[in-house]
């Protein structure tokens, strides 16, 4: 049941993405936000899949690569839907949806099975820790999608290329706003998540394991976020420079994740 529901969600997310791609090709946003309705329907199916998973396995779907990837994908969609109900921000789905699909395909590929872990990983505050971090990543993804679109729209406006990017993407002002919202949602969430994780390790009498790839990734992401926020706050960077920093922060996070997965982990526990 969990797998068919996941496959259905993948199909629906794919359909929403195709609607957006078509809009991009014909240079206009979808009528009446049809892709948002499709995404919302897909998210409902996706949520059902994770609830069924929890009932079947009696574990929260935050432990193990497959379930955690699926949960992260759902959180990204929810954050996107909550922040993009305005017509202007909808085209950001063009960048957000491929990430969601990638995470879901990964989840299905590695398997949606529960992973035997310590009892501590079943406690509510662990769920809070992981969920907060996932919201943080979702915010960072949204901010970087907006930043990337900002840079593309900026380039189109500067070079006077009045094609698909000019027509389909929102205004620079709207993209700047979406970037700011992504950072404002993501940074506090990521900070809270990391604090919760630190408390968790202290509670169990362990120090902060700086060699732990999950800890390394958390700190790298947080620092990247901090740089993006600080450049806005302290240096008053706006527009193109702020977009560059946001996109850079996301690139650093993704690079760190890939490097850590390839070099430091063999266990498969690391997300």
């Amino acid at each position: 049941m969990v797998l068919p529901l996941h496959l259905t969600a993948v199909g629906a997310y794919l359909a929403a993405w195709v609607v957006q791609l078509r809009g991009f090709r014909v240079r206009r946003a979808g009528r009446q936000g049809v892709e948002l309705y499709v995404m919302a329907a897909a998210a409902a199916v996706h949520l059902t899949a994770l609830i069924v998973f929890s009932f079947d396995t009696r574990t929260i779907p935050l432990v193990g690569l497959g379930p955690a990837s699926s949960s992260l994908a759902l959180i990204i969609v929810v954050v996107f839907l909550l922040t993009s109900s305005g017509a202007e921000a909808r085209p950001a789905g063009l960048f957000v949806l491929p990430c969601v699909l990638l995470l879901l395909v990964e989840a299905i590929a590695v398997g949606l099975q529960p992973v035997a872990r310590q009892t501590a990983f079943r406690e509510p505050w662990f769920a809070f820790h992981v969920t907060s971090i996932f919201i943080g990543y979702a915010g960072l993804l949204l901010a970087s999608a907006a930043a990337l679109m900002y840079l593309m729209q900026f380039r189109a406006l500067k070079r006077k290329q009045f094609g698909s990017v000019f027509r389909f993407f929102p205004s620079l002002d709207a993209l700047e706003g979406l970037n700011r919202v992504g950072l404002l949602i993501g940074f506090p969430a990521l900070s809270l998540g990391l604090l919760a994780g630190w408390s968790f390790t202290l509670t169990y009498g362990r120090g902060l394991a700086l060699g732990d790839p999950e800890v390394v990734l958390g700190i790298v992401s947080w620092l990247a976020y901090l740089t993006a926020i600080a450049s806005r706050r302290r240096r008053r960077w706006r527009g193109r420079r702020a977009a560059f920093v946001s996109a850079g922060a996301f690139a650093v996070t993704v690079t760190a994740y890939v490097v850590l997965r390839l070099t430091l982990t063999a266990s498969g526990f690391f997300l």
Binding site: V26, R27, R28, E88, Q153, L157, K158, K160, F162, G163, F166, R167, P170, S171, L172, D173, A174, G177, R238, G239, R240
Partner: protein
């Protein structure tokens, strides 16, 4: 003038009731006019009908026997007379006389400039016009309001000039235009220079509400652009011109504030958008001036709509500065027009759908009196025949006679049911008026020509 073959007129017989015949005759829906497709602007303007002249013109047209209803649509791109007429040829002559008189030309001179559409074609024509499919700029939205205004003015200034048919036709037309604009993107995008300017500014700033603009040069184009930007919510407009009084006049018209030209570029850091449209033969704004006025500032949109250009091209290389000239605006317009053209088939389909619906109503409305006449004639014959038979019968009670009459009437109604339903169905086809005319002649003349 392009002409359609007129339907055969009714044959007047000596034993006919002319009043009844007129009530049964199918009125013809006709449009005669000229537009940007058939006449240049210097000709079109001679045919323009202003409100002051409309009353006299409508009274003269609808006062004639041949024209029962009339709406005059007169815009800068077209002048068209929509009429319901009983005698098409005489009515056409009457309209042509009026148009020639209006333009101060001979009828023969204006004939090649005009087009005429009749019945279903006239319906489709109006629906295409109101949808912007026949406009100079495809999909332009103003025509919807202009058609509505023409209908209101025509019905308001001469009572009775708009009857049931034209009332329904124009209501259906406005509804068609609304649906085309709601369900297609025929009116989307910027298909004019000012609209393109707005689109470019919106792509940078999003909403223009609360933004500030500076217009340098009090030319017509700059003023027009500023008006459109003001309609989009632009907050403060500063107008500068070498002659302060011109700046004052222009700022009064657009609701802005005149500023002296001397130190105008010092105000660059107070505005988000600049429209340059002076007659200066060389650039009046350089990259150095912009850079010194806005060191690392927020986005600035510069619209250089002057020829020769007013703003040095290097200004566009500065960070956060977006410089556009006339060619750029033209390209935005071309892109929009191209995108609109892709919506044409969908819009045409909506027009055809609405035209079919109207046509069905229109012909059914004409078929009703004929079907009533058909039934009356058949009942007269049936009553006469049955009374003749009953007179010759003996020993039949009055009760039985009434039963026989009722049975005969019931049989007649059953026999007539299929022909009347078929007639109504056939009448709603494209050749409906011709068919109805033949039926009318069949009933009134017994089919004799």
């Amino acid at each position: 003038m392009s002409e359609a073959t007129p339907p055969p007129g009714p044959k007047v017989g000596s034993d006919r009731d002319p009043a009844r015949e007129r009530s049964l005759a199918s009125p013809v829906l006709e449009v005669i006019g000229l537009s940007h497709r058939t006449a240049p602007i210097e000709v079109r303007e001679r045919f323009h009908v202003g409100y002051s002249r409309l009353e006299k013109l409508l009274a003269a047209l609808t006062g004639s026997e041949q024209i029962s209803e009339c709406v005059v649509l007169s815009t800068c791109n077209r002048t068209e007379y929509y009429c319901t007429v009983s005698a098409p040829q005489e009515a056409e002559r009457k309209v042509l006389d009026m148009m020639a008189q209006q333009a101060d030309l001979d009828v023969d001179e204006i004939r090649p400039l005009l087009y005429r559409h009749r019945d279903y074609d006239a319906v489709v024509h109006l629906f295409r016009v109101v949808s912007g499919l026949d406009s100079l700029v495809l999909g332009e939205p103003q025509i919807q309001g202009q058609v509505g205004e023409a209908y209101r003015q025509s019905s308001g200034c001469v009572p009775g000039s708009v009857g049931a048919v034209l009332h329904r036709l124009f209501q259906a037309a406005l509804s068609t235009g609304g649906r085309v604009r709601a369900q297609t993107r025929l009116a989307h995008g910027s298909a004019s220079f000012p609209a393109a300017a707005v689109e470019l500014a919106r792509k940078v700033f999003g909403s223009l509400e609360g933004r500030r603009a500076l217009v340098v040069g009090a030319g017509e184009m700059g003023e027009l652009t500023l008006k459109v930007l003001r309609n989009e919510g632009l907050d403060v407009a500063l107008v500068a011109s070498r002659r302060l009084e011109r700046a004052c006049d222009a700022s009064r018209r657009v609701g802005g504030k005149a500023v002296p030209y001397a130190n105008v570029w010092e105000r660059l850091n107070q505005v988000d958008l600049v429209v340059a449209c002076t007659a200066a033969p060389h650039p009046i704004l350089t990259a150095e001036q912009v850079d010194s006025a806005r060191p690392g500032g927020s986005p600035l949109v510069l619209l250089d709509i002057a020829l020769p250009r007013n703003i040095a091209p290097e200004v566009g290389d500065l960070a956060e500065v977006f410089l556009y000239n006339i060619d750029d605006l033209q390209r935005v317009v071309e892109e929009a027009v191209e995108a609109r053209a892709e919506e044409r088939p969908a819009a045409e389909a909506i027009v055809a759908d609405h035209a079919d619906q109207f046509w069905h109503w229109y012909v059914a409305r004409q078929a009703g009196p004929l079907i009533r006449l058909l039934r009356e004639r058949a009942e007269e014959i049936q009553a006469r025949e049955i009374d003749g038979v009953l007179r010759r019968l003996e020993g039949v009670s009055e009760e039985d006679r009434e039963r026989i009459r009722m049975a005969s009437r019931a049989s007649l109604h059953k026999i007539l049911h299929v022909p009347t339903v078929t007639l109504r169905d056939l009448a709603s086809g494209l050749s409906g008026p011709e068919l109805l005319d033949r039926v009318r002649r069949l009933l009134l003349d017994g089919g004799r020509d």
